[in-house]
């Protein structure tokens, strides 16, 4: 019987020599475990369960563990500073080589830039947006702290093999339409339950033309559709991209032609217009024209969702020759040190600062409301990040609209939610 991508990956990682299909449970070997500041929380579980003060060599494979400080970089209070100090001590004690300190940026971005993830891998992380690596043809998902403690010791974890749904994307997008508009369109049309506990495979000629950066945004947002995995096939574009950054060997995974999909959805990319998710859920999304004119106080471009070079470059096209509206705060957060440096080299950072934007250091930024750029009550923010839940970016009396970097920057210039196509020349 044919298998989907996730059925193949979980079969190959199964501790028993057996092919598995949707609905079955497996104990699988993990290829990579990634943690951020919450490594400290996982360590606390180990301590509570009797880890002795001297034990060092306890993890299953330190080369398969990646840790980065990205949520609170640099620390904004003493509690966080203590937590980060502990993480650094643990990195030394357990000799974890793959460690990224506060200067590096968002760990999801770094994991991809440095190819810690490769096609066919099974990856777990204590962060719900671990689905992001599906763009690299990997099965990658978020888990809890207790589970992570177990993974670090054993390298194994149980998984239910999920049903797979297919999103077939056809056609070409109109100008100024990004994959963020596409995923918000999908959320609005099919709701955030469409992929609950399922694996998504993205396919179609609309994907073939899509950049790797744009695909990363889709895999990243898959978790917002309820998905356990959001996976792309390894086409030539991905293979060339990977070969340009690594010489490590890998085995791309393709679905069988007779693989069984629970459901298939056909999406015409050309039908997609700029989309905005209204407060307070992602599937509360509408064409930008339905909300244009709403006054904004803050605008954000950044995060694991839309903080890559492509996002900054696109946004800078609208901003060039324009100014951020007086009274609006435009916060720009490059996803990584590398993105920041390249944006600097290309003059993009200059365009932002000259237009009146505030450019922050690479980190998770205002996205989760616990570090910088926090909203006060009654404020309205339009953000190229991933969640608009009540209280997500600060006050639970603030309102967050999600959109593409283009819509965000167009809105920052006008001081109200704006269709970016107004800036088409």
């Amino acid at each position: 019987m044919g298998q989907t991508i996730v059925e193949k990956i979980l079969s190959s990682k199964f501790t028993e020599d057996k092919e598995v299909y949707a609905g079955e449970y497996v104990t699988a070997r993990v290829d990579l475990a990634r943690l951020h500041e919450n490594f400290a929380r996982v360590f606390k579980i180990l301590i509570e369960e009797g880890l002795s003060e001297k034990a060092e060599d306890i993890f299953w494979d330190v080369e398969k563990i990646v840790v980065g400080l990205d949520h609170y970089s640099p620390p904004n209070n003493e509690k966080v500073a203590e937590e980060q100090k502990l993480v650094r001590k643990l990195i030394e004690r357990f000799r974890i080589n793959n460690f990224y300190d506060i200067n590096e940026g968002v760990l999801h971005q770094i994991v991809l830039e440095n190819c810690h993830v490769l096609p066919g891998m099974l990856v777990v992380g204590t962060d719900s947006h671990t689905t992001t690596y599906g763009a690299y043809n990997a099965a990658s998902t978020g888990i809890g702290y207790t589970e992570m403690a177990y993974v670090l010791l054993t390298g194994e974890l149980f998984f239910r093999v999920p049903e797979t749904i297919k999103f077939e994307i056809t056609g070409k997008p109109q100008e100024f339409i990004t994959s963020k508009d596409l995923i918000l369109y999908i959320a609005g049309k099919y709701s955030t339950e469409v992929a609950q506990y399922k694996s998504i495979e993205f396919k179609g000629d609309g994907i073939k033309n899509m950049t790797i950066s744009s695909r990363i945004t889709m895999s990243n947002m898959s978790v917002e559709l309820g998905a356990k995995f959001g996976i792309f096939e390894a086409d030539d574009k991905l293979l060339n991209h990977l070969r340009s950054i690594t010489d490590r060997k890998f085995e791309p995974v393709y679905p069988d032609p007779d693989a069984e999909y629970e459901k298939e959805y056909l999406v015409e990319y050309g039908d997609v217009v700029p989309f905005v998710a209204k407060p307070h859920t992602i599937d509360n999304s509408v064409p930008v024209t339905e909300v244009s004119g709403i006054h904004i106080d803050q605008a954000v471009i950044g995060s694991c969702t839309n903080g890559r070079l492509e996002d900054l470059e696109l946004a800078s096209k609208i901003l060039k020759g324009n100014k951020v509206k007086k009274g609006v705060r435009l916060l720009v957060v490059p996803a990584s040190k590398r993105v920041y440096a390249e944006a600097m080299r290309r003059g993009i950072i200059n365009i932002f600062t000259n237009a009146g934007a505030t450019v922050l250091n690479p980190c998770c930024g205002p996205c989760f409301g616990g570090h910088v750029g926090v909203l006060s009550s009654g404020e309205v923010c339009i953000s190229a990040t991933n969640r608009n839940f009540k209280g997500r970016m600060g006050s639970d009396k603030a309102e967050v609209y999600l959109a593409s970097p283009l819509t965000v920057v167009a809105s920052a210039v006008k001081g109200e939610i704006t269709d970016p196509r107004e800036f088409l020349r």
């Binding site: 449970y25 002795s52 809890g144 403690a149 149980f158």
Partner: protein
């Protein structure tokens, strides 16, 4: 843990998300301090009525939403013996198993139970009985590997056992 769970049924509807089970503003607290706030939006004071071994029966999408582990931890703290639900949030399900709370997922199972009924669950065979109404239901049991984790009391005892070596 025994292979059967028996207790009183507490019945909930659809879409009980992790924000209802463990409100975000209290999620940083230890589980025992979250107790008074658990299910506050739909059933204030729930924790004080629950007895060790009681079972939550709920409709669709129980435990959807944020991945916070405290939602499962607070159920364990109040002594919930099992959850029997029509469908479940993915990470919540994982966290329950990891903490040793069996979760039985079966389409439309909740309609066979009323609040206060007595329920008996045989984890090994998948037989779920409403002893008050005399209804017997056959559901697919959890796989053996998960039953082992649950019967061990979750992953923590397994973690403890591994750490004894060091």
């Amino acid at each position: 843990m025994q292979s059967t769970v028996e207790g009183r049924v507490w019945k909930f509807g659809d879409n009980i998300d992790t924000d209802i089970i463990c409100p975000g503003s209290y999620m940083h607290l230890p589980a025992k301090d979250i107790l008074p706030f658990a299910f506050k939006a739909v059933r204030p004071g729930f924790y004080s009525a629950v007895q060790e071994g009681d079972v939550i029966v709920a409709g669709k999408n129980f435990g959807i939403g944020s991945s916070r582990e405290c939602a499962a931890a607070v159920l364990k703290e109040m002594g919930i013996g099992a959850c029997v639900v029509d469908s479940v949030g993915r990470i919540f399900f994982r966290n329950c198993i990891a903490l040793g709370i069996p979760v039985i997922v079966h389409k439309n199972i909740s309609k066979h139970f009323n609040e206060g009924d007595h329920i008996k669950i045989d984890l090994e065979t998948g037989k779920v009985t409403n002893t008050s109404m005399g209804i017997e239901l056959e559901v697919s049991p959890l796989p053996q590997s998960l039953i082992q984790i649950v019967r061990s009391g979750g992953l923590r005892p397994l973690i403890r056992k591994i750490l004894e070596k060091y």
